[in-house]
Amino acid sequence: MNQTRRQVMQIGAGAAALGVAASAGLMPSIAQAADAPGWNAQLFEAKSFADVAKIWGGTPTESTDVSIIGPDIAENGAVVPVGVKSNAAGTTALGIVVEKNPTSLVAQFNMTDVSIPNVATRIKMAQTSNVYAVAKVGDKLLFSKKEIKVTLGGCGG
């Protein structure tokens, strides 16, 4: 990306994000450079599932239509395989939320009319935590959760 576009973005989305972060009294540590267009810094600064849900604008309801897979125990919190899936018709987005990470939202996947709401990735976990798979379905937020224990393996030496 060339410098011009970078600068444009800096005074666009980036600056807006900085304002939000500053007004919330947060260190704008991840919003100081040029944020990518459409990237919602406020969402990624949220410190709990409840705060993330508030920004998404819905009350989370546990649902068997949404599923999450991941290991019961991760030997390394830096690399944890996680898959999330929704069987609910009209799912417009999927989210992965780690309650006890410094910031809770890990990823949001925005569906189109041809997307299948079924994605997998590798995430970082700071400590043992509930991990939420969240599906936006209309104005509803459906979720399921799984506790993934993070514990260091090996000799520790």
Binding site: W39, A107, Q108, N110, T112, N118, R122, K124
Partner: protein
């Protein structure tokens, strides 16, 4: 800085399954280096996935995606020979794009 990607797109049933491996340091901005200096945050923020010219999925990512990110996603309506393109933008404005043919 070069950020190579590896991708595969396969038809599985009525879906195209795409698996993408990216290279990126995915620094959280919370870690310190050996000298005790904060390593600045450096991470992918948005990912756009297209089949031919149609967007099939977009992603917004925070700092908790693992180093060298992996993404598996699926979409309907793809066919053998279609071109799947994945591109990302990180918080420093760096980008990378890769494509593959559905098989």
């Amino acid at each position: 800085m070069a950020y190579p990607m590896r991708m595969r797109a396969n038809i599985e049933g009525d879906a195209v399954v795409v698996r993408v491996l990216m290279t990126h340091p995915e620094e959280t901005g919370l870690l310190k280096d050996k000298e005790g200096k904060i390593i600045p945050a450096h991470f992918i923020q948005t990912v756009t996935c297209k089949n031919n010219d149609k967007t099939v999925l977009t992603c917004d990512w925070g700092t908790a995606i693992s180093k060298n990110p992996f993404l598996e996603f699926r979409f309907k309506g793809g066919k053998s020979g279609d071109k799947v393109t994945v591109s990302w933008i990180d918080n420093k404005g760096d980008t990378s794009t890769a494509d593959t043919t559905v098989s």
